[in-house]
Symmetry: C2
Subunit: 252 residues, 2 copies
Amino acid sequence: MTQPTAAVLLIGDELLSGRTRDINLQQIAQYLEPIGIPVRECRTVSDVQEEIVAAVNALRAKYTYVFTTGGIGPTHDDITADAIAAAFNTGISEHPEVIADMAKRYEAMNTEFTPARRRMARIPHGAKIVQNPVSGAPGFQMENVFTLAGVPQIARAMLEDIGPRLEGGERVHKVQLRGTGLREGDIAERLGAIAKTYPSVSIGSYPWYLGMGDNGVALVARATDTGLLATVQGELEALMRSLGVEPVLDPA
Amino acid sequence: MTQPTAAVLLIGDELLSGRTRDINLQQIAQYLEPIGIPVRECRTVSDVQEEIVAAVNALRAKYTYVFTTGGIGPTHDDITADAIAAAFNTGISEHPEVIADMAKRYEAMNTEFTPARRRMARIPHGAKIVQNPVSGAPGFQMENVFTLAGVPQIARAMLEDIGPRLEGGERVHKVQLRGTGLREGDIAERLGAIAKTYPSVSIGSYPWYLGMGDNGVALVARATDTGLLATVQGELEALMRSLGVEPVLDPA
């Protein structure tokens, strides 16, 4: 079985200017992990069509799935739908069902269905709709590329509609052990030896320094084989204890 | 005067798995903005040498400066220094001054200077050191590529040593106006017209939905010309007020 893979493309000047700290990569990765689709790459580009097109085409050729976020609202800086159409060399126009749904929704809200709001119903030709239960304006799926809103709550809701369309892979299990007071330099050699002994288990080491003596190292092990993972967990626990540090197992 | 540009390369499985929510892009962008170096692109790659090398080489050819974060610690998954050396097709070995500094530091801490810790003194040939006042192990500069730690406090401290080496550009000024209760669909047409009238001012529109009625739109305008920026600010304020919303100006 080939493991499916994913890439995330974050679109928006606000991420590159430092105005907004992204959380969509994290929530997409956390959604995909349990269904066995690891995110392998992420790119962040500005609201410039050629940049979006180049990134979409690079990523969709390389990974099983691509998830874009941002740029599908009603304002002039929302150019993602046009960029996706351009990337796939197809047209874009108002989607009749989306127009009908949105018209109904705005009528119920006693809100004018302005030309700007109609822009949000423009969908690249051949794309499938991704439902947006939060605010109505949909995302869409163009082959293996899913286009989501940038607002995190909406992006999260859209993942629920996308989930059943994805072909998952072998589930990757993980354990995280935290060792308060531990220092990477004291464990690195033995940790490297464990990593070498179990090449099919991916082991990461992440120090933290929060000040006031709150520092340490978190060790994360990932594997599809739960038996092997348990063995590695035991070795990591033994490594910490040999240095007088009691490992704390984080909830999976 | 050509405007310098920057790209950020975030390195680490923990970002792609969703374990860690990145904050380094934001702090690097916020550091560079006042000195007139806009970040144009960001990529996040895993701890795989070919992926790092490919991204470094793509970005350093395209942008004035590249900033990498992550992967320069003492453990087996810290492969950034080797990847940078490979990207520049140069060698890597222990840097005598760094070894001397670190030996002194560890002696003062009464800590063994292990082979793993010595790994952190391996610097690509031809690179300049970037000081790390927090924990000693340095970053480095290879031509236009700056390699920083992944731990945010350390990355931030390293920027202070890098700053004087950068040639800044024309300062981009910005204003942000928040309109609580505002909806993008109600302002989009007139906002687009303002953006069209002032093409040298970049205008972004960012809705928020925090629930409990706390929603609205933040409008951000950016320009090098402060006079023009003030004019646009006036137009955006008038747009909000015409809809009965009092704009709140955020501190610059």
